[in-house]
């Protein structure tokens, strides 16, 4: 138990990434406004990026940019390259979802997921 707590305290970045993920997930589940859900989705994605970059972090390591000095300690550049791709995807997903929201609003006149479900009628 003590070891578990110590491990958690040493890896506090992972804990906070988990907390942020839970906040985003809770937002997606509990709020019925679609724009709020999108903000929750963004928070969730950022938490995953935080987890990835925290994996790459080396204590006292410099940023992974070669400046020509010998024997320096660098952080791992691979996860940050992955995260860069992830950010590009995030922007695209956000823009696409926002355009979908505008279309939904012009069709149904509301952005509330429950109301849209009611307007569409019960499928059964």
């Amino acid at each position: 138990m003590l070891e578990l707590l110590q491990g958690l305290a040493n890896n506090y970045f992972y804990c906070y990434a988990l907390v942020l993920f839970i906040i985003g997930f809770y937002t997606i589940l509990s709020h019925s406004n679609l724009l709020k859900k999108l903000i929750g989705l963004n928070i969730m994605q950022t938490s995953v990026f935080l987890f990835f970059v925290a994996l790459a972090y080396v204590k006292d390591g410099k940023a992974a940019i070669i400046t020509g000095e010998e024997g320096a300690l660098y952080t791992n550049p691979l996860p940050s390259a992955l995260v860069l791709t992830g950010i590009v995807v995030t922007v695209s997903v956000t823009a696409f979802a926002l355009v979908l929201l505008v279309k939904l609003y012009s069709y149904y006149g509301t952005l509330d997921a429950d109301e849209i479900t009611m307007l569409r009628g019960n499928p059964e």
Binding site: V19, I39, V53, T94, L101, V102, L111
Partner: protein, 78 residues
């Protein structure tokens, strides 16, 4: 160093909670842009300036403006 990290992460969690608790969608978007700012500082702390500069460019300029454009086309309050 560890104190700075913990402080930053706590502010980040506060920011996220504030962004999802506010009823006004415009305010939620404004606070979300602050979330992106703090995230950029954390990327710097974790030693990956590449991600930080991308987050800065995206979060300060593009994402917020897209959100505000959507709000201006739909409604502002939940």
């Amino acid at each position: 160093m560890i104190i700075l990290d913990l402080l930053l992460l706590n502010i980040l969690v506060l920011c996220a909670i504030a962004a999802i608790r506010v009823r006004d969608l415009l305010s939620a978007v404004i606070i979300f842009s602050a979330y992106s700012l703090l995230m950029a500082i954390i990327w710097l702390q974790l030693g990956s300036p590449d991600v930080a500069i991308t987050e800065a460019a995206v979060g300060a300029g593009v994402t917020t403006m897209l959100f505000i454009a959507t709000i201006s086309k739909t409604r502002r309050y939940e």
